[in-house]
Point group: D3
């Protein structure tokens, strides 16, 4: 029997998702993404320079930064600047977002400029990294639309949309889009980044409690594709 989940969803239900484009009026592109109780404000900033290793090559770059407000969670997390250095979790997540966005970007079409996508988590109830990828792509696309309109670039560097979702095995059952309460008790936790055409960009699966089989993996992938 397929049981109801803590928030009343079926195993293959997503939480309600809304995306508010242009939520940060001072940025070249932005989106506020809400997925259940998770909210991430994504902005895209265009800078007319590239990292040193790309100078003079006529190619662009996309990078991402991620952070959580101290009280995005039910107990307060001290700021990283107070601790004096970035946490491993933050770096892992922002590297993931950056790779996901770069995988669908044509750097020659972008020209010698950098787009920094900032993903700041206002509320965190699980799935902040996947929401950041989905919202970050919208912010990036809006910034690029602005460059196209302004004539700064002549063809669209974005091959196709990219989005991400989490899947997991909770109490023996494969479920889609885990909130914090499920995520913290999951046997297996997996984040999957896919393009609109259904191709995989990144897959990160971790056995939190005990290893999983390849059959489990296939079931989770099917669920993610649905999501």
């Amino acid at each position: 029997m397929v049981g109801m989940r803590t928030d009343g969803r079926k195993p293959d239900d997503l939480r309600p998702v809304t995306i508010e484009p242009g939520a940060a009026p001072f940025a070249e592109g932005s989106a506020l993404i809400t997925a259940g109780m998770t909210r991430v404000l994504c902005t895209a900033s265009v800078q007319e320079e590239v990292p040193p290793f790309l100078k003079g090559k006529g190619r662009g770059w996309v990078t991402a930064e991620y952070s959580m407000l101290p009280r995005a969670t039910s107990t307060r997390t001290p700021r990283e600047i107070t601790r004096g250095r970035p946490e491993g979790r933050t770096q892992e997540i922002q590297r993931l977002i950056g790779r996901a966005l770069r995988s669908v970007t044509d750097f020659a079409a972008l020209g010698e400029r950098t787009i920094i996508v900032d993903c700041d988590c206002l509320q965190a109830d699980g799935g902040t990294r996947t929401a950041a990828i989905t919202g970050g792509w919208v912010a990036l696309a809006l910034a690029i639309r602005g460059l196209l309109k302004a004539g700064a670039i002549t063809r669209d560097p974005l091959a196709e949309p990219v989005a991400a979702v989490s899947v997991g095995i909770v109490g023996g059952q494969a479920v889609l889009d885990l909130p914090y309460i499920e995520d913290s008790g999951a046997d297996v936790d997996m984040n999957i980044v896919m393009t609109a055409s259904g191709r995989l960009v990144e897959i990160q699966g971790t056995a939190e409690r005990s290893p999983f089989s390849e059959t489990d993996l296939t079931a989770l992938l099917a669920l993610a594709r649905k999501g």
Copy 2:
């Protein structure tokens, strides 16, 4: 003649202000304050411990932290954690907010606990520190109301509301509640923190370009009181 300001206000007009209480659902108290294009998310977190210098004295503490999202402004500001240390401006502002909130708090009534007020600026168009004080007080008051309701404390430690506003001299004229464009070109810039009963908590005035007279000071104070 009294000229119109860049945004059409009269010299003694405030920008439209809205306060959304409870904007951060995971915090004990919170408020999202909007003043024109400036938006600050304030949360109050209750912690059942006090700094070392207060241990065992039966008295509480209120402290504040302030930060800006990288793209709160029209050009992106790198995160402090990337630079490796907090900026002077941040520290100056969060010390100001903390002093303002502490000036109306009775620490004996609060008991041996700390309330941390986080003020995170989502959009910055001048007056972020004064908005943070006003919004921070609302978040603090909501957290304290929760403690009263829960019976953790028996009398209200908050003497009265506190709020802040900026005034300045721009092009020879005293004006109220400066947006960024006025602030950056002001001759004198002053932040005033007052209680609901009209008493002063803090006054910080700086001659950005050339010194000012005591008559100017009196005019600015009158304007702030109106605000």
Copy 3:
């Protein structure tokens, strides 16, 4: 046709691997693992204390740290302490190693103590994180054997061996155990952590250049299982 690889291996050949147990005589457990030109010195240090969140629960913890000597690579990499903060790559890798080792450890059997597994890369030619997991498990197992012999613990907390290998798609072909030259030109790069019984512990696959299909994923998994 299946072409030869730059180092003369077939697509499903591993590089020659040797593991020298006890390579660090002062550590409770250690192993020097060599895979082709990659060499990682792994040590396991037993400490009779646990992180704060585990105090008094009768359970242990396993954590990992990873670093590269400055001249492990063909051009020198400045030390992290010189830059003043840990790099994202380092943190991502040491979190991966830690999760892999924890997935096969029974913390109740370990008792209230921490084992820190240090993986220091002496030479880096691709696959350092997978070598670190494989070598790190050997160091961990030797340290645990010592605890068993000394009677500090009474049953083995290690469920089964864990090992890792990289697979990738290079020039359209799925290949096993990529050296640096293949890794830097790969279309898809995947690290797979498996237990001796063939169950998955972690899977991390990234499309470096263009997204990949589920069929690719299946092929890579088969290759990894062989490895």
Copy 4:
């Protein structure tokens, strides 16, 4: 009745002040200022470059740094470098000193060079920031006199002297130039920076214990003017 103060002064008495110009023989300008038990060594260093945001504009800059020796106070304060980052109080003070000195400097007359004013507090008994402003101005003026003598600049960039003093309300009475024992028990604490011609440069007043009225403010300003 106007009571005597702890050190025998009347409410509107300054502590004895001495200024020793040229106290740091290796600096372009310097002054050792003593006010009661407070001693601050101020040096001015001329550097033939400006911060990036001023390059190529033909204008100069004045900035200040402030620090206290560990044993300037009656209990030892650990060095900031030991704690790994600058304290908020330090940054607040050095920003105040910088603004005060800049308010009387004509940057076009200074030319494209920076003068750094270092204020190192050898002994601290209240009023270190106001002593630093007064002494810092002397060091700055001496460095500028040197530039004029050497012909590096042709007209004096300093409009007029600037000096600072603290006033406060202690035990209900407005007092001038507070030593530490008064400062730590003051109801209101205010620092006022004025030019020789009596115009205000900066005013910072804080209600340490309870808010104050505008009448109090006027009384304090009159006292400061006297000082």
Copy 5:
């Protein structure tokens, strides 16, 4: 022929040295030492606690910290806190001072307390580390005299005075007590720490330009002993 030195001294002349005891009135012990143009303010702070490795052993500790004001030298040196970490030179010097002072201290007689000797260099013209040792010993002795007077300890933990001097080979000639101009051009630079009874505590000799012979060493030691 023995030539005159740049400052008119003979090779075996010390610079004029003065020591002002009690120069820092808030410290338990202090001394301002002047040697030529070099001035170091030394303070000794008594703290009723010891480092963790000494807890509960009934023995004390002496440690030293060293720093230079930014404008102690003829060109300004940025503060270490601005660079974000202590310089190697600073650490090398403060470790030397600490070892020198510890070599004549009986920790059992001192009891379970720490004395921190801060040596802050106000002016630097060579020989700051040797001046810091000599002046630091005076500050330490004064703090200990205070403990004896107060009855906190019953016998003097200081075996005998310790002092330091630099010697070097400049232009082929052994010279005593080098100012900066000689030090920066010396072939060999040596710092020697001796007790009043003429026994060696520390000897650090470095060939700055070319190696030196044992005969040179003997000559330098004789010179230092004279100093």
Copy 6:
């Protein structure tokens, strides 16, 4: 009577030393030096640039960095990056190594390039700094041999070999090449750096427990020369 030492050596015996040249295949020069249980991996990296203070002068530079793996010792030492800043001991040692190597290098012959010698201690049983100097010289010499072979330089910048050894007074007896157990209990500990021709480059002697006489010094030097 001359007693046997804890490891069976006579007072003037060195521990068995082996040097494996080329131990780090990716570096321009390298050596793995083993002295008893102490092992240090030394690499020399050639960089075609010099520090700012040497730019455009046609002269090169040699610098050294030193580090220990966390489990080089019998109890684990946390990484410096975890503590956030380099330890004083590390900086003291790497400055010593750098000075030793520079004392035999002709910078004009080296040309405008820097050689960084990294000394990473894999196992530490006393004498790591002296082993690092001896092994570091071998790595440096191999890197320079490569530059000569490649024709990048035309004459050998290395005047002669340099090597280092520790001597000490343990239980009243002068001994050569102290392992950790002797070092930690020594009355006097001295490190001596000498060239092949027997001239002194650096001498650092410290009285760990009680001051020593000049006669002791002479005896130690004779022993070191033998070593």
